[in-house]
Symmetry: C2
Subunit: 429 residues, 2 copies
Amino acid sequence: MKKIIQAVKGTRDFYPAEKAVITFLYQTIREVSESFGYQEYDGPFLESIDLYAAKSGEELVKEQSFVFPDKSGNLIALRPELTPSLVRMIAQKQRQLHFPLRWWSFGPFWRYESPQKGRGREFFQWNADLIGAASPEADAELAALLASLFRKLGLGPDQVQVYVNNRRLMEEELRVMGIPDGLHEIVFKIIDRRDKLADQDWQAYALDLGLDGKQFSAVQGLLEDRELWKKSPELPRFFEAVDALGAADYVAYAPRIIRGLDYYTGTVFEAQAVSSTVRRSVAGGGRYDNLMADVGGDPLPGVGFAMGDMVLSVILKELDLLPPDRDASPARVMVTVFSEDTLLASYQLAAELRAAGLDVYSYPTPEKLGKQFKHADRVGARLALVQGPDEIKAQAVAIKDLASGEQKTYPRSEAAGAIRELLDKPPAA
Amino acid sequence: MKKIIQAVKGTRDFYPAEKAVITFLYQTIREVSESFGYQEYDGPFLESIDLYAAKSGEELVKEQSFVFPDKSGNLIALRPELTPSLVRMIAQKQRQLHFPLRWWSFGPFWRYESPQKGRGREFFQWNADLIGAASPEADAELAALLASLFRKLGLGPDQVQVYVNNRRLMEEELRVMGIPDGLHEIVFKIIDRRDKLADQDWQAYALDLGLDGKQFSAVQGLLEDRELWKKSPELPRFFEAVDALGAADYVAYAPRIIRGLDYYTGTVFEAQAVSSTVRRSVAGGGRYDNLMADVGGDPLPGVGFAMGDMVLSVILKELDLLPPDRDASPARVMVTVFSEDTLLASYQLAAELRAAGLDVYSYPTPEKLGKQFKHADRVGARLALVQGPDEIKAQAVAIKDLASGEQKTYPRSEAAGAIRELLDKPPAA
């Protein structure tokens, strides 16, 4: 036997059971996004590298993106994130769009990273953004939207939390501590690595990047201060609004949250599993008030977040919160084929039932009925229909309940109604 | 003002009105696919170039695909089609899967072509395949599935047709005409160009590829023979089954249909608009019985098709068959914010109504009510809710019907019910 050609490292094959997870997430995300009045949109999957160059942060663009020259030599990136496309699209139609504007999206993204549990090179991401409103209450809506998805998925506040901080607050604190403005970006980078490194390694990293021992201790102290948010002019209003939106149980302050992307200007947040085998963040976001002007549009404030499918799916699987029967055919009715002679009659019956609004799987060729029943059971059908020469002569259909094994014959004109009734009945224990 | 960074040529920005078209197609495709019992799946978006090298046809792989080396130097392609991924996935799990197997998919694809109306470099495609059944009736099911989508979309058989031919029949006829087997692939290439070239250019192309004048005339004659299908052992059974499946009005024989992909072995078909400003095919497919063995699996027959979103969308737009209000917010209710003091009460009201199952858009900040009403109208909301200090004191909500201008105050506990009732009422003319 020849060797089967391998899939590309870090990509996933979505067999029906795996695709069902993506579709379940997409549909739940749609419901939650629409309940807040967000409109669905999407950007292209390919973008010019220039779009990311300035603001996404060097690591994301140069090290973690798939970039290649097209036939004209222009550098194209497989999008590693959506915010720059969103901002470009809004800047392009700034005069026609009505602000405040709420948009959401769910689509594929690519990052050239080492694949591991909960991380791949090709993944899906939910994005939600509110553009044209600059208040802490607008920030709170995004945190509440994210919390609403968790609640809808069955994840409780003891299982996942949205941790919040504010970059302006942190900058102010660094200034008070005497750390010069020129070092702030480096300190943010250090803070962003806090959760990813062991204590020793983290300290070494900080000193390596240029903090002295005193500055390091001050930063370390800052990250322990759980009351720091009270000094922010924004965060108390943020938490009050989160409470009004009914999401207070999911949202908490955490001074170590800073987020890796360079474009955030104010409140930032990150969702994390409280206990799971994957420790990476579930979602992250924040306020970006300068990005629109940076890509060439008129200044316009924005806040948003992104949530990947992979970490969330691991958590939902661990907690048994994914829908059951993910491998089953959507059709719960299978029409069997009795013989070569009755094949077309079976096709006709299937078409008739579909026209009546039923989802019907039709066995394509004549085979032993036992084999066909077994197949129906394996693909998750509940009922198997038989139409042999006797049934055809009598204009009837035999319907077999595969759960109970019971079989009964109905006039063909009543078949659709009988099927609906049988499908509504719970299967016998 | 700085210049806004441009989108990549041949890609599309999906603003809400454009994304609504994709979502409408995806949802309609889901309904139709599920009505035939097909299970949703997907392949990766990146595949090794080797997967396509042998069988997709040289033009598609070498000239029309986005191909780039990854950091290890392996050549990666942005998938130009799905069938090779499908076949690879099935070959990998051939012992665990239950055949016959019906799978469908809707996702993004890329081709490096010159963008024009109905054609881009980044597009979506519906794929449906039936694997493990080798009969003409199985072929007929795929044609009927495609026709069912057209019917569901409101496209009549006078607007779109599925044209069918059979490669084995054509090979047999070429043999009878004395055209040697070694020339068949070239003749197929010539036939495939028939619709794309003017008569003169087509003849020149045929002679250029090596046909002599007599052979050219014979091929030309063959393409005029609308009764040719009767000589096929498969096509009469195919058309009978299409009829049994209720799709005869959408399916017709056409000897010029051959399809460009190299892997087809039997029946091939192509959907075309009967009259439209775009003349390219809407969908294409056929039987491929050798592909599984070619990628390293055990031999297994297959039949399937692919349909892009772009040509179909042009036709649906021309015929005004796209859903209305594609630009509107999904929320038909907007909660206004009366003042800074009542902001949180408005947020609370919105959260309460969402918890009651309503989709609610909440204005994020206090503004003049007139401006907020105007915004509600622009984003497509039907009702605007007002909760000023008086309403808060009285535990009430004022509900304004933006269509009629009528406003009425309800006890807050009855707001959700009142909103449902108002939304059910047709707007005053």
